[in-house]
């Protein structure tokens, strides 16, 4: 079980607002998070990953405290080992597709499988600059999966994919998530695009 109870100050164009979240996520559950721009969805994911620090509260994952202001616990992102798909992909310009996966994992069999899953076998020697937007986004997803994370955080992961590729990939991902037993939080401004991938919803206002 993932238990999150945090308060985080958000900077907005007209000042500040407080993001208050109190939620629980069951293991293996896939949750779609949606809401208007600037409502703190990305910040919420970053707080879970340890890339942003809430002002107060706690984050407990599988009975392990990742963050707690009272006991002053704040695990580094390296120790939380979540998979994270960034909205801007955050691909490394100096690495090829294969090198991205090899940077994240030493499991050669798993890497080959991910390349097949993303239909990127023939592109494995290409650097991000030579990939289309959709290919870059698929690589960002594959890289996040490379560490076989138990918690996967995805920020608008399908926005650059065409309908056919999206449907195929989502079907494949569903079985991979189940195989890994991963809990998945997906930020998506368009809940319909997930094609029934999510088990539950969380709305930001």
């Amino acid at each position: 079980m993932i238990s999150i109870n945090i308060e985080k100050r958000l900077k907005t164009y007209d000042g500040q607002q407080i993001l208050k979240i109190s939620s629980k996520f069951a293991p293996g559950c896939i949750t779609n998070i949606y809401g208007p721009s600037g409502s703190g969805k990305t910040t919420f994911l970053k707080c879970i990953a340890g890339l942003a620090t809430p002002e107060s509260g706690s984050i407990v994952v599988e009975e392990q405290v990742w963050f707690d202001t009272q006991s002053k616990v704040n695990l580094s992102p390296q120790k939380r080992t979540v998979g994270f798909v960034f909205q801007d992909y955050a691909l490394f310009p100096n690495m090829t597709v294969r090198q991205h996966l090899e940077y994240a994992s030493k499991d050669a069999v798993w890497i080959e499988r991910l390349l097949r899953l993303g239909k990127m076998e023939t592109l494995s020697g290409h650097k991000p600059e030579y990939l289309s937007g959709g290919q870059q986004q698929r690589l960002a997803i594959l890289r996040a999966l490379a560490t076989k994370p138990k918690l996967l955080l995805m920020d608008e992961p399908f926005s650059a994919l065409d309908a056919e590729m999206k449907a195929e990939l989502i079907a494949e991902l569903k079985s991979v998530f189940a195989e890994l037993g991963a809990t998945v939080l997906i930020v998506s401004h368009n809940p319909q695009e997930l094609n029934g991938l999510a088990d539950s919803e969380m709305v930001f206002s």
């Binding site: 801007d88 940077y103 994240a104």
Partner: protein
Amino acid sequence: MTDLAPVWLSLKLATLTTLLLLLVGLPLAGWLSRGRSFLKTVIEALITMPLVLPPSVLGFYLLLAFSPQYGVGKWLQDNVGLSFVFSFQGLVLASFIYSMPFMIGPVKSALEQLPVSLQQASYTLGKSRWETFIRVLLPNIKPSLFTATVLTFAHTLGEFGVVLMIGGNIPGVTRVASIAVYDSVERMDYHSANNYSLTLFAITFVLVMGVFIYNKSQAKSPIV
């Protein structure tokens, strides 16, 4: 026949200074590029000072600081047997400080231009700050890194004031090419002065041209 020893000494000094600045300056630039604090602002201002300060001022204070008569200089002389005044190691120290902005400035700016999500992505993959710095950040600022390295080397070759203040003009020890030019002119030996000047001009021109050509090729194909 012009004595080439000052040229070799200049090259040795520039190589050592550049290597030391790569070793110390890169992590320092990495640290300075992350977040803001008053301490970082003060350190950055201090690093930038050699760009605007007369070299003689820096040389004067280094001379005072490392004088074997008192303070740090006396302690180093008595306990470690190390003297930074009128010695080659003094030149290295002075060059290190004087050329610091040429290494740290471009590298820090380039690191700040990289999207913060690059290092965040690396952290979520379990990679340490150091591994992220070496394998993700530095490879993606190669043109700036190359420019900083070459400019540091070329700038050290051309140092005069600070080197003269702390090192003097001891043949084979502190008499680098830039000082040899000045010394030759004082002795009215214009032939030697011209040889030293021409050598320094040729080396630095080739280095600067190299930077321009490299950066132009990188602009055509930024991802190598």
